[in-house]
């Protein structure tokens, strides 16, 4: 039985071990048959499609508006121009960009903490315990998860308005923290990756329900916690519609909504702009700042996820 326990998670989690053998085969075959170049070509073209715009964005922030139009699109401008863009951007409405970034961080982080605290036990309970209303709750979770949540933004505005929370940061943090997709991910993970025998053994050994969750299920749940945490953070950081509707003041905007404000003051996109004008490279820099935290979190999560998978695989 202990073998069962360890092999199961490694099967469920995408593990490199599963793909190593065919890799060996392919190498052997490659010696005989010339490789079809089409797959590599397709994969390479999509690399260009996905990466080139990001690369361009990185470089655009280092240019002047004139260089943006006239220089090679994939050339580096200068640190001087980057500095000038930074100064111009941060002076926009007195450090507004930094305030927006801080808001985004605050909202996403608090929502993330609440999401994990709420979703992981809920997903566990749906997968591993039996209680009245379990099936109803599971179906409700799927339904709400599939429901286009933006359609509830206007009604949510009315609800929050009725309880006089408009303008409070909790008016978006709490809706962010409600994350049925996270519950569903956890539920799927526990049903497929956590053998029931293990939980029964824990109970036989005298673990309470909560003890079994905390000592057995939770330590095995690291990959799904990372996954839910990551998806929740990205979803909240990048959400535009909800804060756009619920937060009335510029000082409360997350950076996503702030980008829209900046866009309105770019003369090439809105010729009616007066002296407030934001240059295009400044907008590019602001966009870059807006995505950096998500990129960093992704790098971090990717390592964590891979580590989780490898741990599962090597134990077997």
């Amino acid at each position: 039985m202990p073998t069962d326990t360890h092999t199961a998670p490694s099967h469920a989690a995408p593990s490199p071990a599963g793909t190593r053998p065919p890799a060996g085969q392919r190498t052997r075959r490659r010696g005989r048959v010339p490789r079809n170049p089409l797959p590599a070509l397709v994969l390479g073209l999509f690399v260009l499609f996905f990466v080139l715009p990001v690369l361009w964005l990185l470089l655009a922030a280092t240019k002047t508006d004139d260089q943006l139009v006239n220089a090679n699109p994939l050339s580096f401008g200068s640190f001087h121009a980057l500095r000038a863009n930074w100064d111009a951007l941060t002076s926009y409405q007195g450090d507004a960009i930094l305030l927006w970034l801080r808001n985004s961080a605050l909202y996403s982080f608090l929502a993330l903490v609440i999401t994990l605290a709420v979703a992981v036990p809920a997903g566990y309970a749906l997968a591993m315990t039996e209680f009245r209303g379990r099936r109803t709750l599971l179906i409700a979770t799927l339904v709400v998860m599939l429901m286009p949540n933006a359609t509830l933004v206007v009604p949510l505005f009315l609800e929050i308005n009725a309880v006089h929370l408009i303008g409070s940061m909790w008016s978006i943090i709490l809706p962010y923290a409600f994350y049925p997709f996270g519950v569903y991910l956890t539920y799927i993970y526990f049903t497929t990756a956590l053998p029931r025998e293990l939980m029964e053994a824990a109970r036989l050994d005298g673990c309470s329900e909560f003890g079994a969750f905390r000592r057995v299920a939770l330590p095995l749940a690291a990959p799904v916690v990372a996954l839910v945490g990551f998806f929740s953070f990205v979803a909240n950081w990048t959400n535009y519609y909800l804060p756009y509707v619920l937060l009335p003041e510029s000082g409360q905007f997350p950076v996503q909504v702030g980008l829209g404000t900046l866009l309105d003051d770019v003369p090439q996109f809105n010729p009616t702009v007066g002296s407030l004008a934001v240059q295009r490279p400044e907008l590019a820099l602001a966009t870059l700042l807006a995505i950096t935290p998500v990129l960093i979190v992704f790098l971090f999560s990717q390592r964590f996820l891979v580590a989780g998978m490898l741990a599962g695989a090597t134990k077997s």
């Binding site: 996905f50 715009p53 139009v69 809920a122 009604p155 009315l158 990048t238 990129l295 891979v306």
Partner: protein, 305 residues
């Protein structure tokens, strides 16, 4: 052996679950989630329905809000826009995500495969307003790194690129650029879950890569493809930020009142007609539910329960 094996395991797990697990602690584990579900799922849904079927004085008004919304000159075009966009978006997603995941899965080098998945995923960090900002630049021939491509297609100005007829394709591009990488990671994970013995058996029986993909991998991925389609459909009907920002960037020329969500927003906050706004919300909600129910019922996606 193993597609069946996993579902056998699941079935076995299910049959043992009910009996020897008397725990009532489940309620404690789900209590907090239940509170959020009610506060931010059930109550706003109830609110939407309430507002959709009452008038400004709070009296029942039957379907008159739906009629008001449907008679609006922007309504039918918005429905058409969203439908067309969904068509392009879902087709692109299914074809390319599955194909790319299969190609990545066949790659010999684990490191290369992982690096590519990461590269494809990167634009996911730009979801929302950031992706629209980037694409506003990319679609402007004067600054775009793909300007030569745009000019080769006969577009010399930003205005020509964002002509109304192009918008479904452009929004598909943006959505695919930001969203596909995540789904590729999911599909790749699902491919890894297909037991190796099964693929090996197919190979011994003489199946090539294409045969293996078509007869074994894609059928076993079906559940995940359906899942992707449901979520992408739900997401697609919500179309808001792309047309909204595009309309800002083109001073209202392109993308204004393009999607149903924009229309709902304008009803609520420009026309002060919350009831018609709620009617549109309820319609979107209903479409999402019907499609989800159909998929769930027909795909066996809910086998786990």
């Amino acid at each position: 052996m193993s597609g069946a094996a996993t579902s056998d395991q699941a079935r076995a797990a299910r049959s043992t679950r009910r009996a020897p697990w008397p725990g009532r602690a489940g309620h404690g584990f789900v209590a907090a989630y239940l509170v959020l579900l009610i506060a931010f799922g059930v109550v706003p849904t109830g609110y939407a329905i309430y507002f959709a079927f009452t008038n400004a004085d709070g009296r029942l008004s039957g379907l008159s809000n739906f009629a008001t919304a449907a008679r609006d000159f922007r309504y039918l075009p918005a429905v058409g826009h969203v439908a067309l966009y969904l068509l392009f978006w879902l087709a692109a997603l299914v074809v390319f995500v599955v194909a790319l995941a299969l190609l990545l899965h066949r790659l010999a080098g684990q490191g290369i495969s992982r690096a590519l998945r990461f590269l494809y995923y990167i634009p996911g960090a730009l979801a929302g307003a950031a992706s629209v900002m980037v694409w506003l630049f990319l679609l402007d021939p004067s600054v775009s790194p793909a300007g030569f491509l745009l000019r080769a297609l006969g577009f010399d100005t930003f205005g020509q690129v964002i002509a109304p007829g192009h918008l479904p394709v452009l929004f598909t591009l943006i959505a695919f650029w930001t969203g596909a990488g995540g789904w590729i990671v999911v599909m790749y994970g699902a491919l890894n879950n297909i037991p190796h013995d099964l693929i090996e058996a197919a190979r011994i029986d003489g199946a090539g890569a294409w045969q293996t993909a078509r007869r074994i991998q894609i059928p076993l991925l079906r559940k995940w493809i359906v899942y992707m389609v449901i979520l992408a459909f739900a997401g697609g009907t919500q179309l808001f930020v792309e047309p909204q920002l595009l309309s800002q960037a083109s001073v209202g020329v392109a993308g204004r009142d393009y999607s149903l969500n924009q229309l709902s927003y304008d009803f609520a906050f420009q026309n002060n007609d919350v009831n018609s706004a709620a009617a549109i919300s309820v319609e979107l909600l209903l479409i999402g539910l019907i499609v989800a129910a159909l998929f769930v019922a027909r795909s066996g996606f809910f086998d786990a329960d």
